[in-house]
């Protein structure tokens, strides 16, 4: 049996010497190396920015969506959207565990897991696309995938249905980072607060900012924020177009008495919202970009361009305990669980 690298570099076809995520193409042959885990895949949960792009390219046509997805995987050996650069995650059953992992992993054959590393680095073979659930970015397939030694995963909990757990785990980094960033008394703005990751961020922000803080939900329409309002996820609600920085700035100014946000969390899946995030935040505030549609240069040059000293963080999909923190929300909040079951599971 072939010996593999911890990070999966042995699977990289091009360019050589890079890691599987930035690589253009990786090897998706399903014969495992000694430190790999083979997964029998059940469902792909495509990253929201990626799936939005694919749906648009396909004009919403399911057969065309399937075609685009199969094409991506056949060209790259992984579901790594070449337009958005993003992936997603999957659930499946452990089929084989490489012998080099013995004593190193607590997984066993037959465990149902969700991979918590991006599909953009996961060797994947799709044999058949069984069902496309367009509204929740989930796709049921027949196929196999590989988890590298450095790959993170969560064994699916018994008390939360699989599709629900998958939806929550897909965006687990955002609420967990929010939980770690927000301090009592903070004014927190969540742009895209009515979306899939946004609502979890609102929940954690409100919990941590507490009675002395102020949590602001920004959504693109009255209709979009209805559910967040009903579940009482924020203290204040704003309807604005996140791609219009001056509009956003004025509205945030109004609800904060001119003080602006201490922390802004950007969860929207459309481009060109960097400037709104910057103008809505205090000069010495912090912006956490979770959106995969964020442009590095637009953020960097945008802040400089308006002379703002704001700290801007690249949203890391992983932080310690993120799966636990995110899943726990589904146990704590009945209202949020109901919304998630209705919308994303």
């Amino acid at each position: 049996m072939k010996k593999g690298c911890k990070f999966g570099t042995h699977r990289v076809i091009e360019p050589k010497g890079s890691l599987p995520q930035p690589a253009w193409k990786i090897d998706n042959d399903m014969e495992i190396y000694d430190n790999e885990i083979l997964i029998d895949v059940q469902t792909l949960n495509i990253d929201s920015a990626s799936f939005t792009q694919i749906k648009e390219e396909a004009n919403g046509d399911v057969e065309k969506i399937k075609e685009i997805m199969l094409d991506i995987v056949s060209k790259r050996g992984k579901h790594h959207n070449p337009v958005t650069g993003s992936g997603g995650m999957l659930i499946g059953t452990v089929e084989k565990i490489g012998p080099a992992l013995e004593g190193k992993t607590d997984l066993k054959v037959g465990d149902k897991i969700a991979t918590l590393v991006s599909l953009s680095l996961t060797p994947l073979r799709i044999d058949k696309i069984k069902e496309v659930r367009k509204d929740i970015d989930q796709v049921d397939i027949e196929g196999k995938a590989i988890l590298f030694e450095s790959g993170i995963y969560a064994v699916l909990p018994d008390d939360i249905p699989e599709n629900l757990a998958l939806s929550v785990l897909d965006v687990a980094g955002a609420p967990a980072q929010t939980a770690k960033l927000v301090k009592p008394g903070n004014t927190v703005l969540v742009i895209g607060g009515a979306g899939k990751s946004g609502m979890l961020c609102l929940y954690e922000a409100k919990k941590r900012a507490g009675i002395t803080g102020k949590v602001i939900c920004l959504g693109h329409s009255e209709k979009s924020i209805e559910k967040a309002k009903k579940a009482n996820l924020a203290d204040v609600y704003i309807v604005a177009d996140a791609t219009k920085p001056v509009e956003v700035m004025e509205k945030v100014k109004e609800v904060t008495n001119g003080k602006m946000a201490d922390i802004t969390i950007n969860c929207v899946n459309v481009p060109d919202t960097e400037m709104s995030s910057i103008l809505a935040t205090k000069d010495d505030g912090l912006i956490y970009f979770f959106s995969m549609a964020t442009s590095f240069t637009k953020a960097a040059l945008g802040a400089e361009g308006v002379g703002r000293d704001t700290t801007m963080i690249i949203g890391n999909g992983y932080t310690k305990g993120h799966a636990k923190i995110a899943l726990e929300i589904m146990r704590e909040s009945k209202a949020l669980r109901e919304i998630y079951e209705e919308l994303y599971a």
Copy 2:
């Protein structure tokens, strides 16, 4: 006289409602609005990532470089490289000050200034390109530019030659952010440490990390790090290809006894160095991406992909006092000033 918006939105041609930096095209008519400053431009200092791209596209041919630059400005109304998304800065003389700025600015007509906002948002008209200084990314022109009310600038100091000041101010954000981040005892890795911004970062890192810290300079060749070595800018020097993450990780592991860097500052102007930065840094460490060639998704998904909890910061070209901090280095360090005079001025 027409009234302008603080951020220059009145100049945006497309898309409407965006700010000048993310805008595709802005109005470079040189009749000023009431809150604008007209600058008679002397020299453009093109962002390193942008100029490298232009030189490559032109195969190093000066006439072709001129053509590409003129084409960018005629299409966009600003020197905003459509491939790299980055700009640069300029020096020139204040020619007119809008009446609405009276009492708000300490500038006067005739002041020689450097603009500290990116060329990617600065209305610019080039009448003639006089000289291209290929090796230092500087281009002398005849032309005019506009500084918006929110735009930052530095009046050029008397004791530092103009071209030298321009070179230093162009990258002022990097050493100033380094100065603010690095604490005594830190292990600091500067990737691209032998480059223009890298050397200033090394200097500040060494000053702040002090005798109990360790500052590591990573350069791409023995030759590239010679000058940094001679000026004693770092404690340790590594030669490695920053696009090869495993190679970089192994070498950093070796010089840190397996502990890796507390803070990594990425100053290289080539793509695909995100993973090297991540693998060279401690799990709970911090990465500061100053490189304009950084990909947001590669950084975000890269860290997640290897299960690293690292904090990753989008390099903000502006931070309070950055011009002062950067220029002061030229007064403090004779060795560094000599290098800068030789290479970049």
